[in-house]
């Protein structure tokens, strides 16, 4: 995976999926239609700053609450490249991995990255860099790495359906 560089947009702790995409919009599945509402209930001023290439940086427990994948669809729809947080709620984390949206749990980097700064994420080399500071990204567990390498859960399942029996994941 190639390194990516983008502008940091920071959000706080415990940003839930209702804030990301309010329930009223769950009768829509098109990323283009969901994108205008991303983080609408959090702060419309933040929404306006998120565009193609943005790297979203959050505090603790990002994505708690609903399992709605509309949150990831809206992130995609607005062009968010990657998400970095101090910690993630579990369903939100799964959904990002499944959809091939890079997610990095890194408490010290998530605390340090400055709003508006440029950050480079190099997943292949396990590096994060911004304004002269570098951080090491710990390697993902083998199964997560396998999903990421496959491009997400959709191609991973497609390979299994096309091949033989579903097999146990590498651990």
């Amino acid at each position: 995976m190639k390194a990516m560089t983008g502008g940091v947009v920071r959000i706080g702790d415990d940003v839930d999926t209702d804030m990301m995409v309010p329930g009223a919009y769950l009768n829509v599945t098109d990323p283009e239609l969901l994108a205008p509402h991303l983080l609408e209930a959090y702060d419309p001023a933040v929404t306006a700053r998120i565009g193609p290439g943005t790297i979203l940086v959050a505090g603790r427990n990002l994505g708690l609450g609903s399992s709605r994948e509309h949150a990831q669809l809206a992130l995609r729809g607005r062009g968010v490249q990657a998400v970095i947080a101090e910690s993630f709620a579990r369903i939100f984390f799964r959904n990002c991995v499944n959809l091939g949206l890079p997610v990095i749990e890194h408490p010290s980097a998530a605390r340090a990255l400055r709003d508006g700064a440029s950050v480079t994420v190099d997943l292949a080399r396990g590096r994060l860099a911004s304004e002269g500071t570098e951080w090491t990204i710990p390697p993902a567990p083998p199964f997560i790495a396998e999903l990421v390498a496959a491009g997400g859960l959709v191609p991973w399942v497609r390979e299994r359906l096309a091949g033989s029996e579903p097999r146990r994941p590498t651990t």
Partner: protein
């Protein structure tokens, strides 16, 4: 060798070879649930996977509940997609209020229909699938792409969770319900106190509770970040299931010497009913701490775990011979059509109508800000639901207090947060 947790036993019985916390594996799924919201996205992903047939139509349940009755054309379309998929795939377990004799909100419905059994694995495209833990099942909520993968393969990838044991000690008071036990744990550990964990609830206070109370408790495990929350099946569980199944199912429990990553004991003996104040389920207070003087515009009794007959009876007990306060409206949503029928037979519906309540058909409705009771800017609700995030039930400037049905009823009568003991 130490004994096994309930979590480890269920995972091991479902194809996960290494049940060490943090290990990864593929979990065999006994029941997969999708609804009109998660289903609409999942069906697209299922097609993108190149899948054509579901892994086993007998192990898939489809429930139209979020935007049902359809509130607009887009909602009608999403339910239509679900209906047509169930039909094309030969999925008999399709429920839609108005079209099938039984129906309702997914988690209450699956339990009522005998689809959730002790020791089984239930995966759903809805975060509150952990409600299945009330019957001793391993229920976990996932997103739509996971749903699509399970539809195709019958398996879910998982990271084996750490197991926590939460013991509720003491004897709960008259107005303390399963909702309050859930809120007590959130008061203790906050909204990330159980992140990634499987929470096994136990204790003397729990042995006295009904399945309805246990559903309220397990329903909010996800609010503390948990993968699931479970109550091992006991006689209460089996007595509840037996008439629904026509036989007494087997129970599965943790070994007495099982080791847990974390153990918490909460004594509920002198605990009053609890409330989660805006804007987090972890912002837990007592009625006294919040204080009266909070003007309440809407009381909402319903949702996937707190629209049970127990909740409706409690509400009716408070409302009997009374009416809603001026300036306050009462929205009541029985969780299933069967619950609705029972409430009708018991006179509960008549009591609530006489008090001025509006009764809705079973639906997720306003709980998630969909329809049927949306709040305007500045409005305050007391709701027996599970989330009170910013804008959860409508305008971002509205506020939601989560509480049990006794407290909700008291608020409907007085128009402010009130200790139910003052009234009944």
């Amino acid at each position: 060798m130490t004994g096994q947790t309930l979590t480890a036993k269920v995972l091991r019985a479902h194809g996960v070879g290494d049940v060490t916390p943090g290990a990864y594996g593929l979990l065999d799924v006994d029941l997969l649930m999708l609804n009109d919201v998660s289903g609409a996205v999942a069906l697209k992903e299922f097609a993108r996977m190149g899948a054509e047939r579901v892994f086993d139509p007998a192990r898939v349940a489809c429930v139209a509940d979020h935007f049902w009755p359809a509130k607009d054309i887009r909602s009608a379309h999403q339910v239509r997609l679900l209906r047509e998929f169930a039909d094309a795939q030969g999925i008999a377990d399709y429920w839609e209020t108005g079209a099938t004799v039984d129906s309702g909100i997914e988690h209450a419905l699956l339990a009522e229909q005998g689809r959730v059994l002790p020791g089984r694995v239930v995966v759903g495209g809805d975060s509150h699938t952990c409600t299945a833990g009330a019957l001793g099942a391993f229920g976990t909520g996932v997103g739509s792409t996971d749903v699509a993968a399970v539809l195709a393969l019958g398996q879910l990838w998982i990271r084996v969770p750490e197991a926590h044991r939460v013991t509720f000690a003491g004897t709960p008071g008259r107005f303390v319900t399963g909702k309050d036990l859930a809120l007590a744990l959130l008061r203790h550990g906050g909204v990330s106190g159980s992140t990634y964990a499987s929470v096994e609830y136990a204790g003397e206070a729990l042995t006295r509770t009904s399945v309805d109370d246990r559903m309220a408790l397990c329903n909010m495990a996800v609010e503390a970040g948990a993968k699931t929350g479970m109550v091992a099946a006991d006689d209460v569980t089996l007595d509840w299931l037996e008439p629904r199944l026509g036989h007494r199912p087997d129970a599965v429990a943790a070994d007495p010497d099982a080791a847990y990553e974390r153990e918490v004991t909460i004594d509920v003996s002198d605990m009053p009913p609890l409330i989660a104040a805006p804007w987090s389920p972890g912002n837990v207070r007592t009625v006294d701490e919040v204080g009266s003087g909070v003007r309440v515009h809407q009381v909402y009794v319903g949702n996937c775990a707190n629209g049970t007959i127990s909740d409706l009876r409690a509400l009716a007990t408070v409302m009997r011979g009374r009416t809603v306060a001026k300036g306050t409206r009462l929205v009541v949503v029985p969780a299933t059509q069967r619950t609705y029928r029972q409430a009708l037979a018991e006179g509960v519906v008549a009591t609530l109508l006489d008090a001025g309540a509006m009764l809705s058909p079973p639906t997720c409705g306003a709980c998630f800000g969909g329809h049927t009771g949306i709040l305007d800017d500045g409005e305050v609700a007391v709701a027996t639901t599970n989330r009170n995030f910013v804008g959860r039930m409508g305008h971002p400037g509205s506020r939601v207090y989560l509480a049990n049905a006794w407290v909700a009823g008291a608020a409907a009568v007085t128009g402010e947060l009130t200790d139910p003991a003052v009234l009944v």
